[in-house]
């Protein structure tokens, strides 16, 4: 199975996702975590239940990854770290495609096995966050 396919310039959504992703990465790189606006992203689920939600730690994961601390990012939220990495790759790839690179990632079929695997990853990630947060 081929991982990349020949392609034209990036689509509007590829550009939009890259712009949004680039903004997120820049915000994570520049803004301090302990001051507004990032400090305003408190999790009401955690405050109410003392348990982390699925996305808890993503801000720290993004910040750690853009400061080149991958282990810290994985510790903050493993899937968040993977998402941050994917966003960075997408931004770079889109920039390359804008510069004339004519290859794009190939789409893969979302089978039942892929869906179940993704759900299992989400569950494991959540379990990790809950266990890590226990005293």
């Amino acid at each position: 199975m081929r991982c990349v396919v020949r392609s034209g310039p990036p689509s509007a959504h590829a550009l939009g996702l890259a712009a949004a992703g680039f903004s997120l990465l820049m915000a994570a790189a520049v803004l301090p975590l302990d001051a507004p606006p990032l400090s305003l992203f408190a999790c009401p689920f955690r405050a109410a239940t003392s348990l982390p939600c699925l996305s808890c730690g993503c801000t720290h994961a993004f910040a750690a990854l853009v400061h080149l601390h991958p282990l810290q990012a994985l510790a903050a939220n493993p899937l968040g770290a993977l998402a941050a990495g994917a966003v960075a790759v997408h931004v770079l790839w889109t920039a390359l495609r804008l510069c004339g690179f004519r290859y794009a990632p190939a789409a893969f079929p979302v089978t039942r096995r892929v869906r179940l695997g993704a759900i299992a990853m989400l569950a494991l990630n959540w379990a990790f966050l809950i266990l890590r947060g226990r005293p």
Binding site: H13, L17, P44, S55, R115
Partner: protein, 274 residues
């Protein structure tokens, strides 16, 4: 010839006219002899592009012929009162136009609402903020938010005007990505990210209510969630249950349960012991 089923709206290829079954949903339909001609008493058959509403483009996507203001207003009215028709007519190759509609709607309304709140309503909303911030686990957060929204300097206003469209763009794509992920996991993403994005973008129309400080954001958000479900149903051609599940799943699983927030705010307002 190419034909489209009026039941499942899938396009298929056929080499004959007359009564036959859709190869996808197996429902009976009639292929007319001449394109666009619907025999009397027969189930209407839709040639691609023959129906005036199916994927002809929303008014906003046809703003070159309608005029920008009329196209915008008709899109908002359709999104609010005839969402099914709007989402059925959405063209999936018009992502840039859909992005523009959402950023214009949400960004503009948010900015107007913020200005109204900061300059005219602060004296009434400030005590509410302080009351909410007075107790509860979210107290410090509310105090920080109150402090951030109290700033009425020129610098703050310019910053707000510049950053609002960017924040809306990020929020729009985050929302679409999370919704699409949920749809994929539930096996409901039949027509790709473009379809999910179109649903999320036009579902932002009720967020015009953000211009009304206070209750506007609550009503607008709830309405937007409902419209996103309607949009997913039409753009992905899926059932209402699947669409509702795909929309609600992120709110339940990923986006910090809204009920927990309500409970917390209630506790904060009443000053219950933590």
């Amino acid at each position: 010839m190419l034909a489209r089923c009026p039941s499942c709206r899938n396009t298929f290829s056929t080499d004959r006219t007359g009564p036959q079954d859709c190869p996808v949903c197996k429902k009976p339909l009639v292929v007319p002899d001449a394109p666009g001609v619907v025999p009397t008493g027969a189930q209407p058959f839709l040639q691609p592009g023959a129906d005036s509403s199916v994927e002809q483009g929303t008014p906003w996507e046809r703003r070159a012929e309608l005029g920008a203001w009329r196209a915008y207003w008709e899109t908002v009215v359709q999104a609010v009162f005839e969402p099914g028709q709007l989402f059925r007519s959405t063209r999936l190759d018009r992502g840039a136009a859909q992005t523009g509609f959402a950023v214009l709607t949400v960004g503009g309304a948010w900015f107007v609402g913020q200005m109204l709140d900061r300059f005219f309503l602060r004296q009434w909303t400030q005590p509410l903020f302080e009351k909410l911030g007075g107790s509860g686990a979210m107290g410090p957060l509310w105090q920080k938010m109150a402090a951030a929204s109290r700033d009425t300097s020129v610098r703050a206003i310019i910053l707000l005007a510049v950053l609002t469209p960017l924040a809306v763009l990020i929020g729009l794509y985050l929302n679409a990505a999370v919704t699409h992920l949920a749809a994929v996991l539930l096996g409901q993403a039949k027509r790709g990210f473009d379809a999910t994005f179109a649903a999320c973008a036009y579902a932002c129309a009720p967020l015009l209510l953000l211009a009304i400080p206070g209750c506007g954001s609550i009503v607008g958000t709830a309405w937007t969630i409902v419209l996103t479900g309607v949009g997913l149903k039409e753009t992905h051609r899926i059932g209402p249950g699947g669409a509702a599940a795909a929309v609600i799943a992120p709110y339940v699983l990923l986006c910090c349960a809204v009920c927990a927030l309500g409970l917390l705010l209630g506790m904060a307002a009443r000053g219950l012991p933590q």
